[in-house]
Symmetry: C2
Subunit: 244 residues, 2 copies
């Protein structure tokens, strides 16, 4: 028994299902483990001033013309004219410290766009999972985890991250969490399967096969590394800023 | 190694995601374990002549006026004016043998409606799982499992059934199945978690809580019983008929 008010946690497996979730009194956590939200957390860990996420290539190009630094990718390939793609390894201290950049990706920035009207939007990845969950536990809002998926499809990496968050939150005595959403239950079950051999589990993903074809699988291990930073990026108007 | 041509199997977790799957050269299996597709399989096992699935209440009412027997439900509650709801226990030999009836349900008949343009559509449930999988293995088409879900949301019961089908098909030496869809992998993993204590697992579903509130959980065990019938209902124009 606990005296804390009951709160719900739901998981939207893809942006296409997000409208089915009630947004009132909810914090939305955006997840795109491979790789947008991992890259964003890395950039903040390395001192970025703020990030402007945009959904379309056209918007990114407009910012580029104005002289902004642009990170852009579609289907894992760096956008023509962009300064770099969305591999987290691009977001080094040298590249981002004290700077502002614009980011557009295949899935992650689309998901951010969908959540723009919600009152609180945070960016989640394994890199900031404990700090993020501790912060969520302190709040009074319900939680919706919005998985970016892959082109509106379900993907395993975002889902097992949702499960890892739920495991963390369920073990936190400050939060009285009601698990009454089949997607959330499935995420937790899949995380429990995956965590026994996380990298081995990731090997079998459709998406990983896609990444391997593009020669990008050097980031896999990094993207599943917990607690590299305590920073929680949050949406503030058009910008992603460091939560204070 | 096998000489059989490679075939894919994909799972659409809800009708909202179905458009993301390529339908060419595919057999679509409709799944609504609680309870439409279980009820349909029961009706065929008990000698129904054929079934007319309709998506809307209005269509069902039109058929009722013409004198048809109508099974109708929304949110688990029998439709006003319908002869019965969609509990499989209504589809007894006495009620359905040699008869025709019209069915409309919250989720299942909507999913059938979505698949209407596909060349081959079959109805799946635990009641006919082995027969269905043996038939699928004999074909040359790819397979898409369309879970009816709950009001366009993901649900666990349809998903673990998809996983049970995939387990069955992977063990069949006549089919060379390529598992390259994250939804299919997740379904199989969830089935492997669930099957250790199937009814216990089902207890935790959001949907089951909903069913319990409606006093309908007497059907749960029945809906997870394998191989009650060998009949495979398939869509033939506007009708569901017994595959010959």
């Amino acid at each position: 028994m606990t005296n804390y008010p009951e709160r719900t946690i739901e998981v939207s497996f893809t942006p296409l299902l997000f409208h089915l979730h009630k947004k009132e009194n909810s914090i939305v956590v955006i997840v795109d483990i491979l790789r947008a939200t991992t890259a964003i957390c890395t950039a903040f860990a390395n001192g970025v001033n703020h990030i402007i996420p945009v959904a379309s290539i056209e918007e990114a190009k407009k910012y580029k013309k104005k002289g902004y630094l642009v990170a852009g990718e579609r289907d894992g390939v760096v956008l023509d004219g962009a300064d770099f793609g969305n591999s987290p390894f691009n977001f080094t201290k040298e590249n981002v410290n004290d700077r502002i950049f614009v980011i557009t990706t295949t899935n992650g920035t689309q998901a951010i766009e969908m959540a723009r009207d919600c009152s609180k939007v945070a960016i989640g990845s394994f890199l900031n999972i404990s700090s993020l969950c501790n912060w969520l536990a302190e709040k009074n809002e319900n939680i919706i985890i919005l998985c970016a998926g892959w082109k509106n499809r379900f993907n395993l990496e975002d889902t097992i991250f949702a499960g890892a968050m739920i495991e963390n939150l369920l073990s936190n005595k400050k939060i009285n969490l009601k698990l009454n959403c089949d997607s959330a239950m499935a995420s937790l079950d899949l995380w429990n399967v995956a965590k026994k051999d996380l990298i081995g589990y990731v090997q079998k993903f459709a998406h990983r096969e896609r990444l391997r074809k593009l020669g990008l699988d050097d980031v896999i291990e990094y993207c599943f590394t917990k607690d590299v930073t305590e920073i929680i990026p949050v949406l503030d108007g058009d910008k992603l800023v460091k939560l204070k």
